[in-house]
Symmetry: C2
Amino acid sequence: MINSLTEENYLKALFNIANQSGEVNVAELSKTLDIKMPTVTSMMKKLAKKKLVHYESYKPLRLTEKGRKEAGLIIRKHRLTEMFLVEKMNLGWEDVHDIAEQIEHIQSPVFFEKMDEMLDYPKVDPHGSPIPDSKGKVVWKDYSKLSDCEAGDTVRLSAVIKTTSEFLKLLNGKGMYLGLKIKIKSIEPFDKSIVISYDKRNAEVLSNLVCERLLVEKIV
Amino acid sequence: MINSLTEENYLKALFNIANQSGEVNVAELSKTLDIKMPTVTSMMKKLAKKKLVHYESYKPLRLTEKGRKEAGLIIRKHRLTEMFLVEKMNLGWEDVHDIAEQIEHIQSPVFFEKMDEMLDYPKVDPHGSPIPDSKGKVVWKDYSKLSDCEAGDTVRLSAVIKTTSEFLKLLNGKGMYLGLKIKIKSIEPFDKSIVISYDKRNAEVLSNLVCERLLVEKIV
DNA sequence: AAAATTTGTTAGATTCGTCTAACTTTATAC
DNA sequence: GTATAAAGTTAGACGAATCTAACAAATTTT
């Protein structure tokens, strides 16, 4: 009943890229993992045998309940680790992903329970993503993308998605962080770039590519 | 130039079981790793190609300088991790080995540098084993085994070797810890078991099997 | 020193996770 | 609604790390 590191990576990717109905294409998974499609197909058959994935030829892939739980538990370890690295080891939010990507595969319940306890049972990771509970369940709040907001809106930055180290360094450079209150001053119709103000800054410009990766809550 | 997890485990074992002249038998390595001899032979040829091991048919194995360095760096990560788990995460010395065994393979210089810094550059791990320096070099102090001491000697417990969880729990049960000052009251000629006193305890008996795993410094 | 034992190697098979080449099915475009 | 393109599968190969069976060398015993 133990999954290999490789299998864990497939499960995690399936979990992460599932759309609302939980479906994933072979091509998409192949691209995400940078593994050729035939390899993905054969691994899906293997995971189907283990009752972790629903697999039918030429149909979209779906995690089973069991698969979703196991994936959730891996992501739980990943996000707890990220939180630990930021909160207890003073690493930057742009540095923790690659380390967590490795530590998430550690087999040791006590190790992660201890982390959880030391962090006082955090609900989100340093990027605002929710940490799955100990049953692997996770719920996202219904944030909006900053790119879907309108001029005049005042919002709170609640999460960042599709994060890369480059992207997070850009945010660092602009003095942006989770919890930040942002006022949208205007939106450029041509390229959807926006002008915002926050803290002491009065006219920062963010491209649409950036805004699509910022999740916010509207403030009334 | 990256070594696989498997290769790392061979290097580490070679390092750990090398005798004073640095030699290791195939049979010994095979037994330590619980891997059959033919597999070990073929891996040794592979490591020899990578200039990590000196290999000649029917001759004892020896790490090259390069191999010794790489092994030392893995063991450095292992022991730093053990120290971190005990000092910063409050795990018991009997619980940390299996976790460190996994974390030692994490590839992230910054992660281990941070640990080192947080621990204030420790020289030994929770079992008294020296932590190799950042070049992989390690030196053992010249401790004696408690089993080689004589009645009347007063010693300080400085390290524990060949530790298993069971063994460390036995020490916990007897209230023994590193730094403990021990007086040897008598030695039973028949089985070499010894009677010692320390702290508030006045006549604890330790079997020879235990004493062979306790390294001490004589106090003058 | 011959025999027996232990140690080490060779040869060949197996499993896992990957690939490429060729083919099939499904979706898209005209 | 056929042609083209995209997505997915099948078949076969390969490297890594493992194994077993059989053989060879070195060591130990007698």
